[in-house]
């Protein structure tokens, strides 16, 4: 039986958040460094930022009461018996 604690997936999620932050900052850097930080690019950046904050807030809100120590069975031989 292969079992992992649930917090492993939380760590993977946090790793994804790091990659997401880096790529978003690179995009923002491109806009600023090329002199194209105009009203249009500000609106798009603001929209993306607000959507990201709302998504993170709802993720945190929905997961606030979760017990991350509980095990998750990835594979069990009895499934095939």
């Amino acid at each position: 039986m292969l079992t992992v604690p649930l917090y492993i997936f939380l760590f993977i999620y946090l790793l994804f958040l790091c990659v997401f932050t880096i790529l978003s900052l690179i995009n923002l850097y491109h806009i600023v460094s090329t002199g194209t930080f105009t009203f249009v690019s500000f609106i798009m950046t603001f929209f993306t930022f607000v959507a990201t904050v709302l998504t993170l807030y709802f993720t945190w809100h929905l997961l606030s009461g979760i017990d991350w120590q509980q095990p998750l069975t990835l594979f069990d031989g009895s499934w095939f018996q």
Partner: protein
Amino acid sequence: MGVSEIIRQKPYEQVKYILHRHALTFIPIILLFVVLASIPLIVYLMTKTLLPSIFEGPTVFPLTVLAASVYYLSIYLFFYGYFVDFYLDLWIVTNDRIIDMEQHGLFNRSITELDLFRIQDVTTQVKGVFPTIFHYGDVVVKTASSNTHIIFEKVPNPNKIREELIRLSDEDRKFHAGPT
């Protein structure tokens, strides 16, 4: 940082046009974003109706929330990345030269310059129903001396830009020929 610093504007140089692609060409991406964003909601509502207890498991619920969060953040990143790719393709026309700045993906950017007095040929291409109705299309600028050419892709009012480029090119040619 302003455009003047990016192009290292010369003292006598005036920026005449800063051109981006027509805003309408971004609408398919907005529609795609809306469709992609609505898929999890549709799947959730269908699953909730057909299998009401599936999200109540102690591990299924957090994993579903994490997966949905990753999905939404990924489409925001895709959308923002595509906007940057779209918006950073720009063409700057001054009274001395044309600067073509193109962004290809996140780590690939090309910049081409062309002196106005070298322009040999300017062509416009308006193809399709929407470009014809909303007046946008390509402007192809070619030089005589080399194979260098610049394409202003899907810019608004291509015919007006073509006329302006020819006029500016004539003026620049007179300037470079000197007083006779």
